[in-house]
Each structure stands twice: as structure tokens, then as C-alpha cells.
């Protein structure tokens, strides 16, 4: 089941979905992810191609436009929900970290 497959998103998955909150084509996604993360997260074209295919299959994203061979995508409601769940998971992890490690460690 796709939901179990994407139960915990990798950083690359997370940022690709995040960038697709607005309509975006495959090429621009690579640039946006790198810009957004300051170069910390980079998505290779082969990885991006496979993930877009899997996200579309799992109904996390849908195709909006096709211009020649350039396809544009945007998050679906399901995709937004998955992204939100991942954000909640990360946030709770961060809170648990602060709680355990104390304010001093996190400043």
C-alpha cells in the first residue's frame, strides 16, 4: 500500500512535495529544492523522475500541464495530508528532543 511505503518521508521526498504546493515542472523542482535548503538537499534528475512517478501513482501529486515533454505537477489533497503528517511527526520529534535535551542544548 502506498501509504505504508511513504510512512516516513526522506528529506528529498519531503522537499519535493513541499515545492509542489505550487504548480511546478520537474526541472524547476530540482532548483527550488536546492535553493530552499541552501544546497543542503539536492535531488538528482534520476531520483526526481522515479519519485514523481511514484508520487503520481500514490495520488500525492497530479499532473496539471503537459508542454511537449515537460510535465507540471501540483500537490493533491492526499499529498497535502501526507506532507502535514510528516511535518507533525518532525515537529513532535523536535519537541521531544527539546524536552529531553533541555533548553541549553537547543540554544
Amino acid at each position: 500500500m502506498p501509504r505504508e511505503k511513504f510512512q516516513a518521508l526522506t528529506e528529498q521526498m519531503f522537499y519535493i512535495l513541499l515545492c509542489l504546493k505550487d504548480e511546478c515542472c520537474g526541472t524547476d523542482i530540482m532548483t527550488r529544492v536546492e535553493t530552499l535548503t541552501g544546497g543542503r538537499v539536492r535531488v538528482g534528475p534520476g531520483t526526481l523522475y522515479n519519485l514523481l512517478e511514484q508520487f503520481a501513482e500514490a495520488d500525492f501529486i497530479c499532473q496539471t500541464r503537459v508542454n511537449g515533454r515537460r510535465r507540471s505537477y501540483i500537490l493533491t489533497d492526499r499529498g497535502r495530508s501526507v506532507l502535514r503528517e510528516e511535518y507533525d511527526r518532525i515537529r513532535i520529534q523536535a519537541q521531544d528532543y527539546v524536552q529531553l535535551m533541555g533548553e541549553e542544548e537547543t540554544s
Binding site: G26, G44, P45, G46, T47, Y49, L51, R69
Partner: protein
């Protein structure tokens, strides 16, 4: 100085580590990949350069597609935007190059990369190996069961032995290839789950040696094991079939035919050409006629009666067994006998059991007598059975150290005739 060279490809399609290493090394020496096929890769001379080659796989790509699929082209476009130029593709293999050492890698997620490789292997390579194993296992079992039913006849035929060993060799080859790739997939999965990079497929590199060894043995067997004219004809026929098949595929792809047409038409055309050329090929493929066979024992030597009808039912010989069935009819009397020489002691018991069962099943008189040791020692045999029928037939089953005789005469042999028989047929 040549500007183009062709390199024999001995790398598994999914051993991408090795492919990348080789291409990078060649580029540093000034040889840049231009085109790839299954066996030979084409390189063109250029400036020595530090070039990065990276590989990915496209599951819907196939050697039977006339053109790259839409998915392949989309992938190529995406890669091109990131500075990766598509150099060549064969089957699912897609090769890209980039001269920028700082360019983002083609794949940045080892888990995704592994899953893509696994998907491609499980859809394409693994089923192909399984089909070959099933096909040749069926062939091997068919010939194997024939061996159990007629061991002397099968073991004495160089051609049949070659086919049997050939099937076994191919079975082993594909079992090794399948096993090594499945083991690597499992190991790679565990490594990636532990957060590490996919390890190189070193097992497949070793298993390629098995493939080359099997191919070499097949060719050597055709040239030196079976009759030379027959073996050479089969080899030439194989090469012609491959050329016709590849040539037809090139034509259908040039005509932009569908994948289904590209898959089936070359195979059907090749089969049709071979079938239609049978009248020309048949004399070449039939093992050379042996000169008139010398009968080890004739009716004339036993009774003085001239033969009216003499024929050899089966006469064949291999390094393992020589086997002959002879029939000599004189108008009044007749003899039929099977004479088997076992050159390899491993098969003696198997052949003995089979021939003795045949003797028991086909003798005229069901109650035979085990001859007393005196006569057996006189003949010098290890084992002897005789069955004489009230109707006047005489059936002998004699086993020497490496020869077995099953002889039928339609009269009771005299002592003198037994002595002649022993003198002529005892090894």
C-alpha cells in the same frame, strides 16, 4: 590511427559500478562511448577527458522498441536540464555523461536507486533467466529420461551426448547467473537498509566466467566432439540464424514497427528461413555416412550359410560407449545381436541392468538356466545367461569386463559354434 574501436562487452547489464568505471577510464584515455549493443560497444577517439559517467535503468525500455519510449525521453530531458547528456542506451540500461565534476549526481537517493534496479531486474532479467532454466531443464529431462530408458543407445551417440551435456551446461550457466544476481539483490537491499551505498555486483563478474566457459565448451564440442562436418554445420547455422534474427530486427526497427512486431517477426522469419532451407541444409546436418559396417560376427562364420539379408539396425560410437545392433538372415537361419562396449566403467551397471531387463522381457522361453560356472569360465565371461526354447531358438546374454552381448539365433548353437562366437566376440 583508427578513430573508432569496438570493445567486447563482458559486463552484466546491471553491474553499473563496473560499467561506469570502464567508461570513465576509457574517456581519460581519449576513447568516448558512442553506441552500445549487447556484445560490442563502439568508442570514438577524442581528447582525453575527465568525464563522469552515470547509469540508470528505465523499466519500460527494451531492445525491441523501435524508438525510445516517452518515459525514456522525459528522463533524458530531465537529466539534460541537470547537465547530464544521454550517451547511449541498450535495453533498460541508460548511460549519461557529464564533464562537470561538481554536477549533482544522477541519483541522490540510494534507496530509490536500489528499488529502481530491483524493479528492472525482477521485470526483465530474472524472468529471462528463469525461462532459459525452465526451457533447458525440460530438454535435459527429456534427454535424461531417454538416457535412463536406452542408456547404451544414448551414451553411444556423440550428438545426443553433446545435446545432453550442452543442456546441462546451459542450465548450470543460467542457474549461476540467476543465483548470483539474486544474492547480490538481497545483499544490496540489506546494505541500503543500513544506510550505506549499494555494493558492486562482484558475484556477477565471477559468474560471467561460467558463461564464457560454457560458450567456449559449446563451440569446442561442436568442432571436436561430434562429427566435424556436422559440428561445423551447426555452428555456421547458429551464426546464420543470429545474423538473420538481428538483421530482421534492425529492419523492423528501421520501419518503426511496434514492440510486439519487433519481438515476434525476427523469430518467425529466422524459423521460416531455416525450415525452408532444410533441403539444402539437411545433407550438411546429417552426420557423415559411415562406410559399410564390418559385422563382428556373421551367419556365414557360424553356419557357412550365405546372407540373404544383412543390416545394421543401430551402430554408433562415442568416447563413452560403442553400441551396435546387427541382423543377419540367410534364408533358413538368422541371428540378431546387440554388442555394447563400455569404455567408461561408470556406466557399466546401468547398461547391464537395462540390457538384462530387455533380455528377460524379450526372450522366447521364459524359463532360462543360469549356465554352470564351468562353461562361463570356459567362455571367460563374468556373467552368463542362456535361454533355449522348445521351438528351437537360442538366446545368449554374456557379460565380459567391458563388453556385453545379447545374441539370438533361431537354432540351438553347437559347441563348435559357441567356440566361434567366443573367439570372434570376446574382447
Amino acid at each position: 590511427m583508427k578513430d573508432v574501436k569496438y570493445i567486447l562487452n563482458d559486463t552484466d547489464l546491471y553491474d553499473y559500478h563496473r560499467i561506469q568505471e570502464k567508461l570513465t577510464r576509457f574517456a581519460a584515455e581519449g576513447w568516448h562511448l558512442e553506441k552500445i549493443a549487447n556484445l560490442f560497444w563502439k568508442f570514438r577517439r577524442g581528447e582525453p577527458k575527465q568525464v563522469r559517467y552515470e547509469i540508470t535503468y528505465s523499466a519500460d525500455a527494451s531492445v525491441y522498441n523501435s524508438r525510445p519510449t516517452e518515459a525514456e525521453e522525459e528522463l533524458a530531458d530531465l537529466c539534460a536540464e541537470a547537465g547530464w547528456e544521454k550517451v547511449a542506451a541498450y535495453d533498460q540500461l541508460q548511460i549519461f555523461r557529464n564533464e562537470d565534476p561538481n554536477a549533482i549526481p544522477l541519483e541522490t537517493d540510494e534507496v530509490q536507486k536500489y528499488q529502481n534496479i530491483r524493479r528492472n531486474m525482477m521485470w526483465h532479467q530474472i524472468p529471462q533467466y528463469l525461462w532459459m532454466i525452465v526451457l533447458f531443464a525440460v530438454q535435459f529431462l527429456m534427454y535424461g529420461s531417454a538416457l535412463l530408458r536406452k542408456p547404451a543407445a544414448i551414451l553411444s551417440s556423440s550428438v545426443t551426448l553433446f545435446i545432453l551435456m550442452g543442456c546441462a551446461g546451459i542450465l548450470i550457466e543460467y542457474a549461476v547467473l540467476l543465483g548470483s544476481n539474486l544474492l547480490w539483490l538481497r545483499r544490496a537491499g540489506r546494505t541500503v537498509d543500513a544506510g550505506q551505498a549499494i555494493p558492486p555486483n562482484r558475484l556477477s563478474r565471477k559468474s560471467r566466467w561460467v558463461q564464457w566457459a560454457t560458450t567456449a565448451l559449446y563451440i569446442l564440442g561442436l568442432l571436436f566432439w561430434v562429427e566435424p562436418a556436422f559440428g561445423l554445420s551447426v555452428l555456421v547455422l547458429t551464426i546464420v540464424a543470429v545474423v538473420i534474427s538481428l538483421g530482421t530486427l534492425a529492419i523492423t526497427k528501421w520501419l518503426n514497427a511496434s514492440r510486439t512486431v519487433n519481438t515476434w517477426v525476427p523469430a518467425l522469419v529466422t524459423m521460416a528461413v531455416i525450415l525452408l532451407s532444410q533441403p539444402i541444409l539437411s545433407p550438411l546436418l546429417t552426420p557423415a555416412e559411415t562406410p559399410e559396417v564390418q559385422f563382428p560376427l556373421t551367419l556365414y562364420q557360424l553356419t557357412g550359410e550365405r546372407s540373404a539379408d544383412r543390416l545394421t539396425i543401430e551402430v554408433d560410437s562415442s568416447p563413452l560407449v560403442s553400441h551396435g545392433r546387427y541382423y543377419d538372415f540367410g534364408g533358413k537361419d538368422e541371428i540378431q545381436y546387440t554388442l555394447v562396449d563400455i569404455h567408461c566403467p561408470l556406466f557399466y551397471d546401468m547398461i547391464l541392468n537395462d540390457m538384462e531387463q530387455d533380455y528377460i522381457r524379450t526372450r522366447d522361453y521364459q524359463g532360462d538356466t543360469i549356465i554352470c560356472d564351468e562353461l562361463r569360465e570356459l567362455i571367460g565371461a563374468d556373467y552368463l545367461r542362456r535361454s533355449t526354447s522348445p521351438l528351437g531358438s537360442d538366446r545368449w546374454f554374456i557379460c565380459w569386463e567391458d563388453r556385453i552381448l545379447d545374441l539370438y539365433a533361431d537354432w540351438d548353437l553347437t559347441e563348435e559354434q559357441i567356440a566361434i562366437l567366443v573367439e570372434l566376440l570376446k574382447p
